[in-house]
Structures are given as structure tokens and as C-alpha cells.
């Protein structure tokens, strides 16, 4: 069997999110070294604050300021920090109940080793040198044994100069994409300027590009069939708007092409003929450019047009 192809695939977005009034106050507050919580329906102070009560789902807006020191409620030692995590050296993940809060906030604790961490230990916020209004404005927590300051939550208006209305959180995930057996065979054949489809053992139709299954019958397709290279234009459209980064003069024609022997039409650009002379039934063949893994476009073969009846099932 031919080798299965793989390729790196990176999915990356700068997610832009708008903030509600409570999230805006909390994240703007972090920028100003001030930690806000919200009083829930049952009187508990929730930090980090939420806009809806975790139990009753009532809307809550009653902001309070809590302390910047707190107590570890649970922890885990991370011996191998990963990309994007708050600290590059081994650290503890911690849930910290800040003074005056009744719930805990997740963050990192900078500690020399797991023996220096325990549930109930006192810690305090280490602020990031540059703060933008994000959870990462808290660089991490650091041990603060002996700090026994009792902090009562203080009412807070939640108002700051220049409040944040949104945040941008970049995210990146790395994958190794594998198209599987059927599509690997298809791509490898294309590299030799051949097009292969696969025949369904049930309905006998030849699918191209093949995906290993007949989408009509729901059975595996295993028989490879070489199709084309010539084909028939079954339908087409005229593109009048230039796509960015695409060096093709408009107008041009994009068409569905039923390759000879295939029961599903591919789509490709038509060249070598004025755009207003392309028609249903036009016989075409692929034009390859050097180093390309797929045809650049299809051009007329000069044969007589195909009969409508020969391709009407494929439109």
C-alpha cells in the first residue's frame, strides 16, 4: 500500500471578545492592581466574579474589593510547564481563596519545589510589570507565610478611568493532519498527473476525490479507478470579483467538470478560451504547471461538445 501522507496544520486565531459589566470591572481592576469580586444571591463573595449567580442564575452586579493575599485551597505540582502557561520553570497550579472571598481563583504559584507547597498556605499576588487588563496581569502567586492580614470585602463601584470593553486572547493549536488512506492515494496519484476515484461496491458509482466511503450507500469504497484526464463541463459560473492574493484576471470561468469515468463532478477554472464562450457540454483537459500537485486549470480539447444526455445526471 502507498504511504499515508501527513502534514503540519496550525490553527491560530486572535479571539476578540467583548466584556460584560462585571468582567470589564474585574479585568480593568487587575490593570489597576485591584481585585474585585461579586456578591452572590446567598451573600457569598465570588472571585473571579461572574454576571450570573452560580446557583440561582440570577443576574448579579454587587461588586466588592477583596484582598491581594489569600489561602491555597488545593494545588498540583507541574514539573514540565507547557507553552502558554504562566511560568517557564516548574511551578504549582493553585486554587487560591483571596482574603474576603468565598470562592477560589485558578492561577500559578512560584515555589522552589512541591515540598514548599501545601493546602492552607498563605500566598499573595505578584503583579505583572506591564498590565493590560487580563488574567495574566497576575503574573503568578508567591508564598507569603506570616501574612495574616484580615481583609474584609469593601463595596466597590466597579468604575475606573478608561474601562476595558473587550479583550483579545490569541490561541494556537498545532496538529499533524492526515487525510487517511483514500485521500492519500488520490493526492499521490495527482503528483503523477493522474486522477483516481473509488467505486462503490453497492451502487457502482465512482467518487472523486475519494474519501473511502460511498456517501450515498454508507459503505466502504476500496476499488481504485483511474478517471479522466478529459472531462465535460456540466455547469459553470463567471467570476467577476478578484480574490485577494489570487493572480487571475477577471472575468474568468469556474466550472464543474465530470471527468470521463467519474460519477461526481470536480470543480476547476477554465482557461484557454474567452470566458463568454464557455458552455455546458464543453470538452476539456487538465493543464499542469511545473511542480504543482494539481491541475492549474482546464482548457478545451477541441472535440465536439458532449450530448446533454451524457452528463445530465451529474449536474
Amino acid at each position: 500500500m502507498s504511504e499515508v501522507l501527513t502534514a503540519p496544520l496550525v490553527v491560530e486565531f486572535p479571539f476578540t471578545r467583548s466584556l460584560g459589566p462585571v468582567q470589564s470591572a474585574f479585568l480593568t481592576g487587575l490593570r489597576e492592581r485591584c481585585v474585585l469580586g461579586v456578591r452572590a444571591t446567598d451573600g457569598r463573595v465570588v472571585v473571579p466574579p461572574v454576571e450570573y449567580d452560580p446557583v440561582t442564575a440570577d443576574e448579579i452586579r454587587d461588586l466588592v474589593e477583596v484582598g491581594t493575599g489569600g489561602t491555597v485551597t488545593t494545588w498540583a505540582w507541574n514539573p514540565s510547564p507547557r507553552r502558554g502557561q504562566p511560568l517557564a520553570a516548574p511551578f504549582a497550579w493553585v486554587l487560591v481563596r483571596l482574603d474576603g472571598a468565598d470562592t477560589a481563583l485558578l492561577h500559578a504559584l512560584d515555589a522552589p519545589g512541591p515540598e514548599a507547597v501545601r493546602t492552607g498556605m498563605r500566598v499573595r499576588i505578584r503583579w505583572a510589570a506591564e498590565r493590560t487588563g487580563a488574567i495574566t496581569d497576575i503574573a503568578c502567586f508567591e508564598p507569603a507565610e506570616g501574612d495574616r492580614t484580615v481583609h474584609q470585602p469593601q463595596a466597590h463601584s466597579g468604575e475606573f478611568d478608561d474601562p476595558l470593553t473587550g479583550i483579545t486572547t490569541p490561541a494556537r493549536l498545532d496538529y499533524t493532519y492526515s487525510p487517511g488512506r483514500a485521500q492519500s492515494r488520490y493526492l499521490q496519484a495527482l503528483a503523477d498527473h493522474r486522477t483516481i476515484g473509488e467505486r462503490c461496491p453497492s451502487c457502482r458509482k465512482v467518487y472523486v476525490p475519494p474519501r473511502g466511503a460511498c456517501p450515498t450507500c454508507g459503505v466502504a469504497t476500496t476499488t481504485q479507478v483511474e478517471v479522466g484526464p478529459r472531462g465535460t463541463v456540466t455547469t459553470y459560473c463567471i467570476v467577476n470579483i478578484k480574490a485577494r492574493n489570487l493572480d487571475i484576471e477577471v472575468p474568468y470561468v469556474y466550472a464543474h467538470i465530470a471527468l470521463d469515468g467519474a460519477d461526481l463532478a470536480l470543480h476547476a477554472r477554465i482557461g484557454g478560451i474567452p470566458y463568454d464562450q464557455v458552455r455546458m457540454g464543453l470538452r476539456v483537459e487538465p493543464v499542469w504547471t511545473d511542480g504543482s500537485r494539481y491541475p492549474d486549470h482546464y482548457r478545451p480539447t477541441g472535440e465536439p461538445d458532449a450530448d446533454y444526455d451524457s452528463y445530465k445526471e451529474l449536474i
Binding site: V4, T6, L9, V11, F15, R17, Q23, L27, V46, P48, V50, P54, V55, T56, A57, T73, T74, W75, A76, W77, P79, R82, R83, G84, Q85, P86, W93, L95, R97, T103, A104, L105, L106, A108, T119, A134, I135, T136, I167, T169, A171, L173, D174, Y175, T176, Y177, S178, G180, R181, A182, R211, G212, A213, C214, P215, T216, C217, G218, V219, A220
Partner: protein
């Protein structure tokens, strides 16, 4: 956590007019890396297997529902590619959940209860080997306060494990799930710390895999199999969003779902628990009252559980399928199946399955079974 007041108005769907059963179950082999096959290529043998058990063809199925995640594939609408495997040709009636397939089964069950379908095919798959599943799962976390810190799935489970140790419910030297796994699947060595207190033996092997079940109503179910696994109750509930609001040593949503599914009305003889991390099994056993005298005669995870193989997005559906398969083989009369989704048992689903009474048993599970 107290139940939200407005939930009282929602009556459980138990006791509905139609009986619905699991009549077939199939799963793939679970492999570390399935790069050689696409999702649909991995799924097809499983679909063929589950349909062959009933004699049905894909086109005979009234409703099809799948569970999977675009984030595992790194590709939008990835489930549409797998749809080729069931003959996604109009007029197929089809739906998808971006969750474990157990939730797809819930949707299919409701569809049959409404009378709009007599049969349903439910399938789920995950090819997490194409990405880094620990990083991928961070993208389901709160995007404002948590996801920017990239806490991976093992780190969050480790926080929960520490909370259990601090509460005296387990201890650090003894991997939390060992006792249960000795009853069921193989015991793995503790291994190195991944994120302490969790070691490799407490974490699930990340595998690729797929599973499928066929559901059928009433007489259709009896026609398709000798011993249908009747779904007597099915419910799912969710915890508060923020981890710091929750008591990580408890799972009130599991308990509530089990109560609504009727799990506590009579003892079960089998429990298939979806606990990807060893310590989570401790939480679930407590929430489902499987510890102590009440649980003495319950086989917990005879399949080996999710700690033996955790194909993400399929592992919960597999718990229901394994429980149903035991009933269909006559090894169980009343089984509980649990599925979870999200960090630290965020969302939980409980199904109660029963076989028809067999001659000589009076319909009740025998003690010690």
C-alpha cells in the same frame, strides 16, 4: 450545591409512553495513533458491525446522531466528513452534538420518545492523536479567566486529586483507582508524576477510537434482539462554570442525574463509570452511593473503564454500550452507565438500563452477582 429552584418544574422523562432499548453496540480497537486512517475510515467498520448485529442497513435507520469535536480534528464541521459513513443522502434525518456520543444518545432517545423515530443509530469518534489533547482541551475552559493560563486537562484533574487527598478520601501513595481497576481492568504501574499527585498510571492513555450503538423502541427492539437493554432512565446535569466555586471532592450533578434517572430506586448490579482519571472514580463512587454495603455487589467498570482506554468523545458512549452489552449477554439485569464531559467532571450523564426478567430470577438481580 442546592438544586436551582426552577429545576423543580422539569419532570423527568422516565415513565414515558415508549420503551426504548439499546439493541446493538460496537467499538473499534483503540490505538495510540490512527494516522493511517481518516475519521470515516476508522468509523466504517464500527458502523458495519453495529448494523450487522441488527440486520439493519444505514437507510433503514430513522434517526442518526453523532458526537465528536472539531477541536480534536482542528477543522470546522469535521463531522460532515464522517457522515459519508452512514450514507448522508437525503432524506436522512441526522443531528450532531459537539460532545461525547453519550449526549448524542440522549438526543436520539428523546427523538424516539417523541414518536418521530423507531430506530436510531448513534456513533462517536475521536482522533486526538492528530493534536495535543492536553492543550486542545484547554479551549473548552472559560475564555476570560482560565483559558489564557493554558491549564491542561491533567493539571485540572490533579487539583481535584489533591482536594480528595486533603479531604482524606484517598491518599497519595495509593493510586486512587487501583482498587476498582483490580476488580475490572488491568492494574497499571503508578509510573512517574505527570502533574503531581497524578502519575501516569492515574491518567488515561490517549487513544483514537470510535463506537456506535443502535437504539430501538418497544416491539422493534424485541424484533431486533433477544434481550434488549431497556433504558429505564436517562438524565444529564452540569456543575457551576468556575472550578473555584465547586467542591471538587463531590459531584452533585452526577447524584442529581442519577436520582432523576431512577438509579437509587433499586440496586444495580453493574456500574460503568466514565472516570478518565483514577481519582475521579472516587468522586463518582461517592456520588452514586456505590461505596459501602450498598455497593458491595456492584461490578464497577468490568470493561476496564476509561482509565484502560479513553478515546475522547467516544468513551462515554462506550460506557453505555458496555453496560448494555452485559445486559444483552445476560451478565447483568440492571446496570448504571455514566458519561462525563469537561474538566473535573463538569457535566455528567447517567443512564439506567435493565434487561427483561429471565425465568427463575423473578426479575430481581441475585445477591452477589
Amino acid at each position: 450545591m442546592p438544586e436551582p429552584a426552577r429545576a423543580a418544574a422539569r419532570e423527568p422523562v422516565r415513565g414515558a409512553a415508549r420503551d426504548v432499548a439499546v439493541v446493538a453496540f460496537a467499538q473499534s480497537g483503540h490505538v495510540r495513533d490512527s494516522a493511517a486512517t481518516s475519521e470515516v475510515e476508522m468509523l466504517l467498520p464500527v458502523l458495519h458491525d453495529v448494523l450487522a448485529q441488527t440486520g439493519l442497513r444505514a437507510r433503514d435507520i430513522d434517526f442518526t446522531c453523532s458526537g465528536s469535536s472539531d477541536y480534536l480534528a482542528g477543522r470546522a464541521f469535521s463531522f460532515t466528513m464522517a457522515l459519508d459513513g452512514v450514507g448522508a443522502w437525503p432524506p436522512i434525518s441526522e443531528s450532531h452534538v459537539e460532545m461525547d456520543g453519550a449526549w448524542a444518545l440522549y438526543e436520539a432517545w428523546v427523538k424516539i420518545l417523541t414518536g418521530e423515530a423507531d430506530t436510531a443509530l448513534v456513533y462517536a469518534y475521536g482522533k486526538s492523536s492528530s493534536g495535543d489533547v492536553r492543550e486542545v482541551l484547554t479551549r473548552q475552559l472559560d475564555p476570560y479567566y482560565v483559558a489564557p493560563l493554558w491549564p491542561d486537562s491533567v493539571a485540572l484533574a490533579a487539583l481535584q486529586a489533591r482536594a480528595l487527598i486533603d479531604a482524606g478520601l484517598t491518599d497519595e501513595r495509593r493510586p486512587a483507582g487501583t482498587a476498582a481497576r483490580r476488580r475490572g481492568g488491568p492494574v497499571r504501574p503508578p509510573g512517574e508524576y505527570v502533574v503531581a499527585p497524578l502519575r501516569t498510571g492515574d491518567c488515561p492513555p490517549v487513544v483514537d477510537g470510535a463506537a456506535a450503538v443502535v437504539l430501538a423502541a418497544g416491539d422493534t427492539a424485541r424484533r431486533l434482539t433477544d434481550r434488549p437493554a431497556w433504558i429505564r432512565g436517562l438524565d444529564h446535569r452540569i456543575e457551576a462554570h468556575s472550578l473555584g466555586v465547586r467542591d471538587l471532592t463531590d459531584s452533585p450533578s452526577t447524584r442529581l442525574a442519577a436520582e432523576r434517572a431512577g438509579a437509587f430506586e433499586r440496586p444495580v448490579d453493574t456500574a460503568e463509570l466514565h472516570a478518565p482519571f483514577a481519582s475521579q472514580e472516587v468522586v463518582l463512587r461517592r456520588a452514586l452511593k456505590l461505596d459501602g454495603p450498598r455497593g458491595a455487589h456492584v461490578r464497577i467498570n468490568p470493561s476496564g473503564g476509561a482509565l484502560a482506554a479513553n478515546p475522547v468523545m467516544a468513551a462515554g458512549l462506550i460506557r453505555i454500550g458496555e453496560a448494555a452489552a452485559r445486559i444483552r449477554r445476560g451478565e447483568s439485569d440492571r446496570a448504571l452507565a455514566h458519561a462525563t464531559s469537561g474538566p473535573c467532571l463538569q457535566q455528567n450523564l447517567v443512564a439506567v438500563l435493565e434487561g427483561d426478567p429471565r425465568p427463575g430470577t423473578g426479575g430481581q438481580p441475585e445477591e452477589g452477582q
